[in-house]
């Protein structure tokens, strides 16, 4: 292939000066952390705005979903089934579980299809691909923030009091967000290849809803081994600790629910870290091909 360069006599043998870095193709994160954050934030805020202002009642609908679920479960378990939890503030515990689960469910099930849904962006602009699933998690996180305020207000109305344990809230929510981000990252990349990830994940979410102390408290299980197995799930661990630290110390902390075994207490965190690492690795490997495989 002959190339004419009439304007400049560039000797092809000489090393070319200042030709700049090589274009690497699409990446998961990229070098510019600020741009990564800006993009994620812009996408997340836009999505949030759309939901907030998209309908007449806006945010109310976002709030209604967990509240309705709460109402149904509350009536069923306290009045119909006469479910007898000896824990304090059962309604608040129930609401907190629902709010936390709603966050995970909303973030992950939107994220699964996010890369495919955002196809026009992925195919037309160069940007770090991880922005897309993470922006979905961020939108859900904004919702969670508002919902947490509702939980806190509900707690105060039920006679709870402000105490030091509340300082754990940001930390717990961060862990939860990390968990949701890990799942979202992995699933969104998998979905590009395998479209049946979505129904599979829906079923898993259902199972997680019942297999996690959400509408019941961990002590109703009765069997210590099963309790501990359930708490290995990072979601369950976060909910348990949330109830202990935020709602009432009469809920056992994660540590004491694990029988005071620190090693066992660490397992959900290890699972969380492994998930995040695996998810990132897989996404990073797939990132250059996403635009082609959509």
């Amino acid at each position: 292939m002959s190339v004419e360069t009439p304007t400049e006599p560039a000797p092809p043998a000489a090393p070319q000066p200042a030709r700049g870095p090589r274009i690497s193709g699409p990446v998961a994160i990229g070098v510019d952390a600020r741009r990564f954050f800006n993009l994620t934030r812009t996408l997340a805020v836009t999505e949030f705005k759309l939901r907030f202002f998209g309908s007449a009642l806006g945010y109310l609908w976002q709030l209604m979903r967990p509240l309705l679920l709460f109402g149904v479960l509350y009536v069923v378990f306290t009045h119909v089934l006469k479910f007898n939890s000896d824990s304090a503030y059962y309604p608040v515990a129930l609401l907190s579980g629902i709010v936390i689960f709603t966050f995970l469910s909303e973030a992950t099930s939107t994220a699964v299809t996010s890369l495919v849904d955002r196809e026009p962006l992925v195919r037309k602009v160069q940007f770090p691909r991880l922005v897309i699933p993470l922006s979905v998690v961020m939108t859900a996180l904004m919702n969670l923030g508002l919902n947490t305020i509702v939980v806190v207000v509900f707690l105060l109305l039920n006679g709870g009091s402000v105490h030091w344990g509340w300082l754990e809230i940001p930390f717990l929510l961060a862990l939860l967000a990390l968990f949701a981000a890990g799942i979202s990252t992995l699933l969104s990349a998998l979905y590009v290849r395998y479209r049946d990830i979505r129904p599979v994940w829906e079923v898993l979410l259902q199972m997680m809803f019942y297999g996690t102390p959400i509408f019941y408290t961990i002590d109703v299980i009765g069997n210590k081994t099963i309790e501990r197995l359930m708490l290995l799930n990072p979601l369950a661990a976060v909910i348990q600790q949330f109830r202990h630290a935020v709602i009432d110390p009469s809920h056992p902390s994660l540590h004491s629910a694990m029988g005071g075994n620190w090693a066992l207490t660490a397992v959900p965190f290890v699972i969380l870290i492994v998930l995040v690492v695996v998810a990132y690795r897989y996404f990073d490997k797939e990132a250059p091909l996403i635009a082609e495989d959509l």
Binding site: G20, P21, S24, V125, Q126
Partner: protein, 413 residues
Amino acid sequence: MENVSKAFRVPTERVQTLKETALHPFRRKAFHEFVALRDVSFDVAHGEFLGIVGRNGSGKSTLLKCMAGIYRVDNGGIYVDGRLSAFIELGVGFNPDLPARDNVLINGTMLGLSPREASRRYDSILDFAELREFETLKIKNYSSGMLVRLAFSVMIHVDADILLVDEVLAVGDAAFQQKCFDEFYRLKDENRTVILVTHDMSAVERFCDRAVLLHKGDMVSTGEPRRIGMEYLELNFGRPEAAAAAASDELRSGIGGAEIVEAWFEDVTGARASMLELERDCRFAARVRFTRAVDHPVFAVTLENAAHDKVFSASTQWQHAETGRFEPGDEALFHVQFTNVLAPGRYDATPAVALRGGTASLDVREQFVDVVVSGTHASGALLELPYASAVERTDAQPAAAEPVVAAEPEVER
């Protein structure tokens, strides 16, 4: 850019579910390679305005996407010195349910501005797009022209050293288009590097310093835009081999007695050519062999354009009826010299030989040869006659009486 290749795996049978993967673990290797780019190499200097042209499917957009970093190249490498912005599509990330401001923010951020920069430039973006009065309207209620204006406006407000632009010139009404052209001139004056992918040869000629022609993934040639433009036209209008083969069972009529053996066009140098330049002398020639004795036969040729309009016809009947007597086995060379004023495009020539008087045809070969007329300043008319135009003031006012509106000098080539 060095030896860039890009192949897509085109799956013949796409496996998209886990179940299928589990059932047929080996079947997913069923794909064939489609090579979209093959060893394309070129350099773009700082401040250069490069055009990339080619027919549909020639790999232009793939190349642009590789440069933009959307596709990963299989071989070779692309090296960039400077901040690069790619505009593959206008209005990426536009959301129909949001008003202009949010969309400018999204689009600007996607294209590499920080949100703060984007909102600082918002006013000037809106003014350039002439959309101030529709600021609060959700953009789903915009007309398509308004959308495009907004998108283009964001694009030119993103400052990058290197711009990759895909087919965006044909947007908006005439006034806005002029603004876009002005912007392109401004970019040129600012010595920014621009790579423009387009079908519009006149835009390439107008702005580009150099052009690259792609064809089926290969880089066919690179060089001066005007020359590339001609090659592009030839690729476009030149008959593909298959069509040429089909043309062998051509429409042929006549009572026999003479045979048009071959016909061709010659350019100004007298060499046979498949392409003629506008406003140059050229020649049509046909070789005729006689199989019976004929007195004063008539030779003629008709040129038809792609729309099958007869645009030119030449015959010996009127110019010199006495062509002489031809015995069986004799051969004649018939040629027509003319100045090429035909509009750019493809033409078919139909040569004919007839008996004296022109009523009985001995041999007519419909659309026997074709030729491409090159030139990129098509006026849209059938012919491009040479002309001179002038404008003179007739009001004879003193110069100070009214402000003189200076017309933009037309760029002539």
